[in-house]
């Protein structure tokens, strides 16, 4: 039977499903229990391939507000000139440097954008070398130097104001069990800059999931996959939790690699070396999430409590030694219905988060003026693992670090979306380019599938 089953209901899964259906395959999407959210930029290549219209990317404006120790807020806007004005109030020197910094790093983000909308490149190919060269001398230098850097060093090179550095440094460590003084975190700042205007360093939210779900041609089913049936080294179908068996000649999984390869597939089909390598893929969850309903507007669209790089680093220190940050890095976004969605870091997977909600509410209440919380709910990494399908609570499924990025993502053997089992493919956040770019892994995966 020539059916393709796509596992998961996120943007990547839906994009793969649509592209395969458009190519004439019969496609069934098994959505699973969790309700994924689309966070991040959507590459134009994805929109074009699906002729998707009506996409709305949403950033709060200012995209981040940072409370200042002396009162007031540092506000960074989508409009460069307004940001410069706001920065000038805390540092004239930083205000002067801001536009140049933004231009320099935006150039690198454009380079990543191009790499993100295609399967990972071969780093040793002449083609890749020429592409990198097109960045120009200065751009190439910046790329080579900045990717492995600690984000703290990059920011210290440019800026002096702690609040500004804290707000940007946060982007370097989002969802990562590293502090801003750890190597490779500057790469993460660039990653979150992808798809954004110069001067904006947070991924947008979008309606891409709704748009994708509205497309015809693909059947969606809410069920959970128990395993992938393999016969003679090739995919034969999937077995659902309710015992139903669906025949299929191809399965594309957007679940994390450990789940896709070690849980869905019976042991024995894979080389023990690969199994060992899959087990070594790092996916340490570090995030808790708080949802709060306020009775009125808190007076900000997005607020970051990250007063300095040292503050972030100390928050990491606690997590490094296994505990929840005593003073966590907090980032809150508010929607038009006064619902706060609060990102809290660091809360290592398995650590005791019982007091974290109160700590964070107390921290936030200093900044939301007269607003009062009506109700709130804290999701620990364990709960996020369940609710979002994030293994160990890790949003990227496989930590996005330089040794697990691009042609190394999640492992070099799997980087081209193919697995050693014929007909079993992987998309999803664990695959290049990782979470925060909606649909790109799905698009790249479909291209690889259709190339054969």
């Amino acid at each position: 039977m020539n059916r393709t089953v796509v596992i998961g209901g996120g943007a990547d899964a839906l994009v793969v499903a649509q592209l395969l259906a458009a190519a004439g395959r019969e496609v069934l999407v098994i959505e699973g229990g969790n309700a994924p959210e689309a966070e991040g930029w959507v590459p134009p290549q994805v929109l074009r391939a699906l002729k998707l219209q009506g996409l709305e990317l949403h950033w709060p404006d200012p995209w981040i507000s940072v409370p200042l120790p002396a009162g007031g807020k540092l506000e960074l806007w989508r409009d460069m000139a307004r940001s410069v004005e706001s920065i000038r109030r805390v540092s004239a020197r930083d205000a002067e440097r801001w536009p140049q910094f933004c231009r320099r790093v935006a150039r690198l983000a454009r380079f990543l954008e191009a790499l993100y909308a295609e399967p990972p490149p071969d780093p040793l190919s002449t083609g890749f070398a020429w592409r990198a060269r097109r960045l120009g001398g200065r751009g190439l230098e910046d790329l080579l130097r900045i990717l492995p850097m600690p984000v703290a060093e990059l920011l210290d090179d440019w800026f002096e104001n702690d609040a500004l550095k804290g707000a940007l440094g946060g982007a370097g460590v989002l969802h990562l069990l590293q502090g801003p003084r750890s190597g490779g975190t500057a790469f993460r700042l660039l990653h979150h800059h992808v798809g954004c205007a110069p001067g904006v360093f947070r991924a947008p939210r979008s309606n891409v999931l709704e748009l994708l779900r509205r497309l015809p041609r693909v059947e969606l089913q809410g069920a959970a996959v128990q395993r992938v049936a393999v016969k003679a080294g090739a995919v034969a179908g999937v077995v659902l939790n309710d015992g139903r068996e669906l025949e299929a000649s191809m399965v594309v999984s957007s679940a994390d690699p450990r789940r896709s390869l070690l849980e869905f597939v019976e042991p024995g089909w894979l080389d023990p070396e690969l199994i060992r390598a899959v087990r070594h893929v790092r996916r340490r969850g570090v995030t808790a999430r708080l949802r709060v309903q306020l009775d009125r507007s808190p007076g900000f669209g997005a607020l970051a409590i990250a007063p300095s790089l040292d503050y972030l680093e100390r928050a990491y220190d606690d997590a490094k030694h296994g505990g929840v940050s005593r003073q966590p890095y907090v980032e809150a976004r508010c929607d038009e219905r006064h619902r706060l969605d609060v990102h809290i870091q660091y809360a290592p997977h398995g650590a005791d988060c019982s007091k974290l909600g109160d700590t964070v509410l107390a921290m936030l209440s200093e900044h939301w003026g007269d607003a009062a919380p009506r109700e709130g709910e804290l999701l620990s990494p364990q709960e996020l693992a369940h609710a979002e399908g994030w293994p160990e609570g890790q949003a990227h499924h496989a930590e996005l670090a330089l040794d697990q990025a691009l042609w190394m993502r999640p492992l070099p053997e799997l980087a081209r979306y193919r697995t050693p089992i014929a007909g079993l493919w992987m998309c999803g956040p664990a695959m290049h380019p990782g979470a925060g770019v909606a649909g790109a892994a799905g698009y790249n995966c479909a291209r690889e599938i259709l190339r054969r």
């Binding site: 060269r133 003084r181 190597g183 490779g184 040292d310 670090a401 040794d403 070099p412």
Partner: protein, 528 residues
């Protein structure tokens, strides 16, 4: 006509290596050393009567075998005595030993973890392969990836060919080593905490990073690239201390015709019309030469000896952001008796063989991270990581009969310590080291006859290494290979015609390797 073809600023080991190679090629070379003796940080001094110390760098491993061969260093007095073991005392009173003898090592590891004992050989083979993969790069002037010149393009193509020749598997392992933290990398291989900690400690040496920070796995590999008499990964002790390494190189340079002048501090590089013409000494003497080669670190060379005004703005900016952040200190002890480690007493059963090796105070990765946590915020580690050797066990001439010298490498002691380095803080560091050591070898406290504490500020003051960084600049990925010390100027040349650099601030970096000095000489000799 100038009297000299080349003046080398600084008689550290790299300056001497460079001088020796230039002299052997028939160039007339003058080495100018600020201090009363050559060697830079590779020197031996009788700090206390009868007690001789390798005050700063204290072991040898990375010195390139081709240099030992080309300069016939053994003929000039270099004699290396191997360190045979590393003992890590554990908090439970036991110890973890790593021995050069394969079977002994395997038995010892198996005592702690069968799995680790199994993995150890494969791990060793993998690192050996990685060291071999990197080796050809050590002797190469890094091509400039931003340049379109034929030489650079073919250099890049050759590099790509080299990496492709490794095969996918090794290339990917190398990628991991370059980008991972040493702790994560070792987690993939081993389970025993002390083993992981002791190995990952090689990844933090000379850096201001903890073992869990990406970038440290490469530093680990860097310390595995040693090769003594064809044996990879061997660490040894130079008979007579590390000063005898410098002395042997100096002797080879002089035999080839180089002139070495001590007590000759260079104040400025003489520059006229964008070209280095010689140097001015602090006493006002001018010495002219066709070329000037600086063995000083990049900041000292360009900010102090050359001066910003002679350099392009962008270059100055790059040099200013080159990071040093020294984090290592040394404590040198003169001992009235041998230390007695409670985990492995030197008695009739054990003998004293283990005292001929190194002791590593690195019981767990978390221990190292906590040591780093202190330093990150500007404090000295309350319980530091220490690498300890007793040179007088290998070379009795280092101490009076029956007495001993102990060399303790300490991390972290940040150069940028809160409140700055003072005498009181130096002693506090010495106390933290001795107290920590006494937890494992209680008799040490009573055995100390003299104590010398060398802080990063002392290293800077005495040897001239900026911020006391032992590698002349942090060995982090963003400061390596074609980025060392700054992009586009990694080929030992500088924006000033006639001025070259040959110190560890250039590729491939520090660790008494000599490769920078040799590569610089080759760049100079290859230059038209």
């Amino acid at each position: 006509m100038p009297k000299f073809d080349a003046i080398i600023i600084g008689g550290g080991h790299n300056g001497l290596v460079c001088a020796a190679y230039l002299a052997r090629a028939g160039r007339k070379v003058l080495v100018l050393e600020r201090r009363e003796r050559v060697g830079g940080a590779a020197m031996t001094e009788e700090v206390f009567p009868g007690f001789r110390f390798s005050v700063f760098s204290y072991v040898v491993s990375l010195l390139r075998p081709e240099i030992i061969r080309d300069l016939e260093l053994p003929r000039h007095g270099l004699h290396i005595l191997p360190l045979e073991s590393t003992i890590t005392p554990l908090d439970n009173g036991d110890y973890l030993g790593q021995w050069n003898d394969h079977d002994q090592n395997r038995r010892e590891l198996a005592r702690h973890s069968l799995r680790d004992a199994e993995a150890y050989d494969e791990f060793g083979l993998m690192l050996h392969q990685m060291a071999r993969a990197i080796k050809p790069l050590l002797g190469m002037a890094p091509p400039d990836p931003t340049s379109l010149s034929i030489a650079n393009l073919s250099g890049m193509a050759e590099l790509a060919r080299h990496f492709r020749g490794l095969g996918d598997k090794r290339f990917h392992t190398l990628h991991k080593l370059l980008t991972m933290s040493s702790a994560d990398f070792l987690d993939e291989w081993f389970e025993n905490e002390a083993l992981k900690a002791t190995k990952s400690a090689s990844g933090i040496i000379g850096t201001m990073l903890g073992p869990r920070s990406p970038g440290t796995a490469y530093v680990l590999l860097h310390h595995y690239m040693g090769e003594l008499d064809g044996v990879f990964r061997a660490w040894g002790f130079a008979k007579g201390g590390n000063g005898s390494v410098s002395a042997a190189i100096a002797s080879a340079a002089q035999a080839a015709g180089a002139e070495i002048r001590c007590n000759a501090a260079v104040a400025k590089v003489l520059i006229s019309r964008g070209r280095a013409k010689g140097v001015v000494l602090e006493n006002g003497d001018e010495i002219r030469a066709k070329l000037v080669v600086s063995g000083a670190d990049p900041r000292r060379t360009f900010m102090q000896l050359v001066g910003e005004k002679h350099l392009p703005d962008e270059f100055v900016e790059s040099i200013q952001r080159f990071r040093f952040r020294g984090s290592s200190a040394k404590v040198n002890l003169a001992l009235g008796e041998l230390p007695d480690f409670t985990c492995l007493p030197a008695d009739g059963i054990n003998g004293r063989a283990h005292l001929r090796g190194a002791f590593s105070i690195s019981p767990s990765v978390a221990y190292l991270e906590r040591a780093y946590d202190d330093a990150k915020y500007g404090e000295i580690s309350r319980r530091p990581y220490m690498d300890i050797v007793i040179p007088s066990m290998l070379d009795p001439a280092m101490a009076p009969p029956g007495k001993h010298v102990m060399s303790i490498f300490v991390q972290y002691a940040p150069y940028h310590v809160n409140g700055g380095w003072t005498d009181a803080r130096r002693e506090a560091l010495g106390d933290a080291v001795v107290d920590t050591l006494a937890q494992y070898a209680p008799n040490v406290k009573g055995a100390i006859l003299h104590r010398q504490v060398v802080t990063p500020a002392d290293i800077e003051r005495i040897v001239g290494l900026t911020e006391g960084n032992i590698f002349q600049g942090e060995l982090s990925l963003q400061q390596m290979f074609f980025l060392r010390p700054v992009p586009a100027w990694a080929r030992y040349r500088t924006p000033l015609a006639g001025l070259y650099q040959c110190g560890a601030g250039t590729h491939p970096g520090g660790g008494v390797m000599g490769a920078s000095g040799r590569n610089a000489a080759r760049a100079i000799l290859g230059a038209p």
